[in-house]
Point group: C14
Chain length 93, copies 14
């Protein structure tokens, strides 16, 4: 099990775990936000415009956290500096 293999393994596992773990809270948070938006709409239909706008800003901020995780996960799969270093080292050798 040489260096290349070990780093590949770690990158695979970490990429999966990062997005798997990072999807929990944003999904719950968004579910909660959407849920309250619906309650509020039913309670005060006249404020639909303000509510919807605030909801979308909030969803965007929560989604951004999920995006952070996806970004780290993608960096680990497709733009991993440690992998590149090891591959370059292995090839150069």
């Amino acid at each position: 099990m040489n260096s290349t293999t070990v780093i590949a393994i770690c990158s695979i596992i970490t990429a999966g775990v990062t997005i798997g773990l990072g999807s929990i809270a944003p999904a719950l948070g968004e579910g909660r936000a959407v849920s309250t938006a619906l309650t509020s709409l039913a309670q005060q239909p006249d404020a639909a415009k303000t509510i919807t706008r605030t909801l979308f800003v909030g969803l965007a901020m929560i989604e951004s956290i999920a995006i952070y995780c996806l970004v780290v996960s993608m960096i680990l799969i497709f733009a991993n500096p440690f992998w590149n270093h090891v591959i370059a080292h292995a090839t150069g050798k």
Copy 2:
């Protein structure tokens, strides 16, 4: 247990765990959103149009998080750069 095998194993396990773990929160979040939508509809049938539209936008955003996990899971099974590298290396040799 050579490099090819080890990477295959990691990819299999990680793919399964990622989607398994990543399905928890979106499903709970959507369950909550749908649930509140139904309560709101029963409470304010006249706002059905706004509620349904907001619900679908919300479900789409929550579903997108589950899709992120599915995408990472599928990348690990069918478009795994580490696997491709090792296979190419093994074949070229």
Copy 3:
């Protein structure tokens, strides 16, 4: 314990765990959605048509997440690319 065996083992365990883990949240989410639908029906029988329709759309989306897990689980059992590679390699040899 050669490569074929190890990959078979991982595929079996991961397939089981994926669907086992992936069934938790959709079932809870659907239970919640159905549960609220019934409350809403009892509260506002006149809106039964809208409620039922929204419920079924919601159940379909939640069920889709369970289906993702089942699909990954079935891919790992019956269309596993890593397994096919190893079998082909073992046979060709």
Copy 4:
């Protein structure tokens, strides 16, 4: 502990764990749905027909998730492709 044994062991354990784990959420979800149906019936006896019908559709969808787990569990015990491969291999040899 040859290949045949190891795969048999994994299949046994995974089959049990899959159905054991997969029974948790559906049972809780159904318990919740039935529970709310009863509350709704007591609250609005006139809507009994709609409530009961919606309940049964919902129970069917939740039960389907438990069935997925049972199916994977049964496949692992009685129609396991990896086991068949290893047995065929062992016999052919």
Copy 5:
């Protein structure tokens, strides 16, 4: 510790864990359903017939999930194909 022993051990442990784990959710679900049925009966004694009937259908469906686990557990103890294979193999030899 030959193959026969190992498979026997796994079957014993899995059988116990499966029914032990699989009894949690159905028992909680049934407890909840029965509990709500009693509340509903106290609230609306006139609907006792509908409530009781719906309760029994619901209990039957939840119990069915516990039965799945018992069935898998019994299959592993008394009709285990892997055990039969190994015994046959050991005897035939």
Copy 6:
């Protein structure tokens, strides 16, 4: 540590864990059911007959799940087919 010993150990541990684990949910479920029955009786003393009857049917069904665990536990201690096989094998030898 020969085969006989190992199987004995597993049977002992599994028997204890099965009933220990399997007692959790039924006891909680029954506690809940009894608890609601008492509330209902206090609220609607006239329906005592229906309530008590429904309670006992429900308790019987929940108890049945605890019985499943006790049965598997007793089978593992007193009618264990794997133990019998190993003992017979050891004696016959």
Copy 7:
């Protein structure tokens, strides 16, 4: 560490864990039942007779589950068939 010792150890540990684990849920369940009985008595003192009777039947059923665990625990300490077998074997030898 011969067979006798190992089986003794397992029996000791399992006996303790079984009753320790098995005491959790019955105690909580009974606590809940007693607790509701007291609330009900305070709310409807006239129904004291029915309430007390139902409470005692319920406590008896919940206690029975704790008794199952105690019975298995005592069997493992004082009437353990595996221990008897090993002792007999060791003595006969």
Copy 8:
């Protein structure tokens, strides 16, 4: 680490864990029961006699479960049949 030592260790640990684990639920259950008794007394001082009597019966039953654990714990320390067997064996030898 001979047999005597190992069995002594197991007995010590199990005795401690059994009573430690077994004290959780009874204490919580009694806390709940006492707590509700006080609420009920404040709400219905006239029923103090019935409430107190029911409380004491209930506490006795919950305490009995803690006693089971203490009994098993004491048996393991002072009347352990496995320990006695090993000591006798060691002495006789």
Copy 9:
């Protein structure tokens, strides 16, 4: 690491864990009981005598469970039969 040392270690650890673990539930239970007593006193100051008396009986019973753990813990430190046996054995030898 001879027998004396091992038994000393186990006794130390178990003594600490037993009282540490055993202090959780009684403290929570007493906190709950005291808490409700205060609520009840504020609600019904006239019943202060009955409430206080019932509270003290209840606290005594809950405290008794903590005492069981302390007793086992002290027995393990200062009157440990296994330790005495090993010391006697070591000295006698």
Copy 10:
């Protein structure tokens, strides 16, 4: 790693864990009791004397449980019989 060292290590770790673990529940319980006392005072300022007295008795009893843990922890650090035995043994030797 001779006996003296091992026993010292165990005593250090156990002493820390015991008080660390044992501080959880008393602090929560006292927090709850104080919290309710304040609510009661705000609700019924006239009963301040009775409430404060009952609170202090209750706090004393809960604190006593934390003291048990501190006592065991201090015994393990400063009056550890096992440590004394080993030191005496090591010195005498």
Copy 11:
């Protein structure tokens, strides 16, 4: 597995875990804040301006905590002083 590899592995895993773990609480916190903002808007549409402003300040502070985690994660991937030291050391050598 030389130093370079080990440090690369740790950096990969830690980077993923840090952002994965660090996304949980901010997402939940923001979900809660957005959710309450919507309720407040529905309840008091006139205060929309103050509410929205306070919401955005709050979201910014919560988001800053997620940013801390992202920053540490990025530092570990792209500006890791330990990695730089080891690479420089390896190159210089």
Copy 12:
């Protein structure tokens, strides 16, 4: 890894864990007490004096539990009898 080192390690880890673990409950308990004090003050400003006094007594008692943990933690770092013994022993030697 000689005795001095091992004891130093244990002391460091235990000191950290003790205060880390021991800070959880007091902080939560105090948070709860302060929180209720504020509610009570808002509800009954006239009783501010009694409430504040009771609050401070309560906080002092809860804080004392955190102090116990800090004391044990400090003893382990700066006045550790086992460390002193080993250092003395090592020096004397």
Copy 13:
């Protein structure tokens, strides 16, 4: 794996875990504080000034706890005394 490497690894992992773990509670606490501020603003718009000021003081204190973790995390990465010592030692040598 020489000393330099090991200390680098520990610093990396600890830095990530510290901020990852340390972000949980502050984010939840701030989410709660912001959330209540919004409710309070909707309920009492006239007190907006006092509420906002108190909110910001509170957020600052909670944020300070997250800062403590960030500081420790940064010290471990960029001003680690142990790392400096080892590097100096390695260089000097």
Copy 14:
């Protein structure tokens, strides 16, 4: 891995974990206290002075617990007696 290294590692990890773990409860407790302060302010704006003062005293006491953890964490990094001893020993030697 000599003594110096091991102690450095333990100090690093413990320092991080202590503050990471120790930040959980104070942050939650402060979040709760601030949250209730805001509710109280909205409910009783006239008592703002008393409420704010009590809040700050409470926050100070809760913050002090987080400070204890920070202090222990800093002692372990910058004024660690065990580290100093080992360094002195290593240097002197």
